[in-house]
Symmetry: C2
Subunit: 313 residues, 2 copies
C-alpha cells in the first residue's frame, strides 16, 4: 500500500515528518511505501540523516508550498505544484491509497472535497476527534468544526460514519451512539436536537442510546457522540487547552496525558471516497507516526469500502 505524506505541512516540517517516518518504519513490519511530497532539496538530506531506508519511501518533488494562512481555494488553484495539490492529484488518480498533511487545513478540506468528492449518498463529510473516557476507553465526537450549521439528516449520517470508525478503527464492537443534548429525555434540546432524535431512533444502522449531556462526554456512556460542528469544535479546543493547562501547571496524571492530541495525530476526513488525514499545525514526530498508522489501519480495514456500502440504498 502507498501512503502519501505532505512533507511541507505543519510548523515543524519537514524535520518532524521525517522523525515520524523513522518512528513508523522502526515499529512497523507492514509492507508500505511512503510517498513523500515536498521539496526534495530539503527532504533528501533529512532522509539520509535519519537513516530512512530508500526502499520504503518515494520522494515526489513538489516545488511549491501552501502556507498555513493562505486562502485555501486560491492557493490550491494557483499552486498546482504544491505538495497538497500534487497529493490530491495522486490520491484521486489511484497512485496513493491515503494522503496525510499537517498543513493548511482549509486547503486539505477544499482539495479533498473537489478532487475526491463525497461518498455517494453522503451530504456532508465530517471531521471527528477522539475523546478520552475517564475509565480508559475511547470515544469519538463528531462533527468538530467542518459543519457549523447542520440539518438533522447531517447528524444522522455523522452517526453512521462515527459508528463505522468506532467499530473498525477503535475496535468497539457495537458502538453506542449518543446525541449530544441539553437534557436527557426525548423532546429536550434545541430545534436541531429535537428533530435529530427521531432520525437516530429509527436508524437501524446504528445503536442509538438516546441523549447524552455535557457531563457524559468524558464518561463511558456513549462511544459515538454526535453534534453540529460549532459545539463540537468548542469542545475539541476546550479539551486541547485543558491538556495545555495541566502541562503548564504541572498537574501530571495519566488521565490528562490522554488529552495530548499527539496521541491521536490527526483527524480523518470522513465521508470522502479515499482516506484523508488532517494533522494539527503543531504536529511533531509522534503525531506523524500516529497519522501514518491510522492511514494504514483505514486502508487495511477497508473502512472506506464499508462506508460506501452503508450508504448504498
Amino acid at each position: 500500500m502507498n501512503i502519501g505524506l505532505d512533507m511541507m505541512g505543519g510548523d515543524f516540517s519537514p524535520l518532524e515528518a521525517v522523525r515520524g517516518i523513522q518512528l513508523y518504519l522502526n515499529a512497523s513490519s507492514t509492507p508500505v511505501t511512503l510517498f513523500l511530497l515536498g521539496d526534495e532539496a530539503q527532504i533528501n538530506p533529512l532522509l539520509k540523516e535519519y537513516s530512512i531506508p530508500p526502499q520504503s519511501v518515494k520522494v515526489i518533488h513538489a516545488p511549491q508550498v501552501i502556507g498555513m494562512n493562505e486562502h485555501p481555494t486560491r492557493a490550491l488553484k494557483e499552486k498546482q505544484q504544491s505538495s497538497i495539490a500534487i497529493g490530491f492529484h495522486l490520491l484521486a488518480g489511484g497512485k496513493m491509497d491515503a494522503f496525510i498533511s499537517a498543513g493548511n487545513t482549509g486547503a486539505m478540506l477544499v482539495g479533498a472535497l473537489y478532487s475526491l468528492k463525497p461518498i455517494e449518498g453522503i451530504q456532508r463529510p465530517t471531521i471527528s476527534t477522539i475523546i478520552p473516557k475517564e475509565n480508559g476507553k475511547t470515544g469519538v465526537l463528531l462533527d468538530v468544526g467542518l459543519n457549523s450549521d447542520c440539518k438533522p439528516e447531517n447528524l444522522n449520517q455523522f452517526a453512521i460514519l462515527g459508528s463505522l470508525y468506532s467499530k473498525h478503527i477503535l475496535g468497539i464492537d457495537q458502538p453506542r451512539v449518543g446525541l449530544l443534548n441539553i437534557g436527557e429525555e426525548e423532546g429536550k434540546g434545541n430545534l436541531l436536537a429535537q428533530a435529530t432524535y427521531p432520525l437516530l431512533k429509527e436508524n437501524n444502522q446504528i445503536h442509538f442510546i438516546g441523549n447524552i449531556e455535557g457531563r457524559d462526554l468524558l464518561l463511558d456512556k456513549a462511544d459515538v457522540m454526535v453534534c453540529e460542528g460549532f459545539t463540537g469544535n468548542v469542545i475539541l479546543k476546550l479539551a486541547e487547552s485543558l491538556f495545555g493547562i495541566t502541562q503548564q501547571k504541572q498537574i501530571h496524571h495519566p488521565y490528562f496525558d490522554r488529552f495530548d492530541f499527539e496521541n491521536y495525530g490527526g483527524t480523518p476526513l470522513l465521508g470522502v471516497t479515499k482516506p484523508v488525514i488532517i494533522g494539527h499545525g503543531i504536529s511533531r514526530g509522534r503525531s506523524f507516526l500516529n497519522m501514518i498508522t491510522l492511514a494504514q489501519k483505514m486502508i487495511e480495514t477497508d473502512l472506506l469500502g464499508k462506508m460506501k456500502e452503508s450508504f448504498l440504498s
Copy 2:
C-alpha cells in the same frame, strides 16, 4: 433587606439550607432578615438545633412542596401553597428583595417569568455560569441552557447583562466581552455567530474584543463569554463533570478546586425584574451560604436597577 430562601428545595433540604444560614449569619454583619419558606414543623426544630438567632429569620409556613421531577407549570398552578409559589408571590409583592431556591429549576424559571416578568426591553432572560480562569481570575459564560435557540439580538443582550454582572458582582472594571466562536476572525462561525458579531461590535454599552474559541474559555482572554444556551450548557456540564472526575481520581490541585460549583452556589436568573437565584439540586451548606451572599450583593449593588437603566432607550 429581606432575602427569601426556599427551605424545601434541593436534595438535602431543609437540613443543608439551615447549615448554610448558620454559616451566613456567623460570617455576616449586614442587617438582613432571611425569610424561610417551607414546612415549619421541619424547619423550626432545625433552627433550634443549629442555634439560629430568631431575630435574623422569619419562618413562612408553606405546606406544599414541588418535587424535583414535577412538571413546572402544572405544579406551580396546582400547588399554590408550595414554597416556590409563595416565594414568588412575596417577591413580586415587594415583601422580599430576593428569592433563592435549589428546588425544581423549571418551576423557578416559570415562576420567575410569570410572576416577575422580564426587564422592559429584554427579549429573553438568561442564566450564566462562573468560569474559573487558569490565572485565578473569574469569567462569566452565558447563556448556559435557558435559551437553546437564540437570535443575534438575544446574544447581544446577554453581553450587556453579563457585563453588568461582571462589573458589579465580580468587580471587573471594564469587562471584556468575547463572542464564543469557532474561528478568530470576523466572518467566521455558524450563521448565528456571523450575524451576532456586527451587533456586538456596534454595541457601545460593552467592551467587545471579538471572537474567542473553545481554547480561550479557561484562559484570561475575555471576562464575559457569550453563546447560545446549547453550547453553553454543554460547557457548563462538562466543567462540572471535570471537577467530579478530578475528585474521583484524587487529582488535587487548587485550580480544579475552583471548578467546584459549591464555591458559587447558584446561578442568578438575569433579565427579570428582581433578584432570583437558582441553586443546584445537590446544594449543601456552602452553596446556600454563597447563594445568600450573592443575593445580598445583588441587592446592595442595585444590579437590577442598573440593568433596567441599560435597557431604557
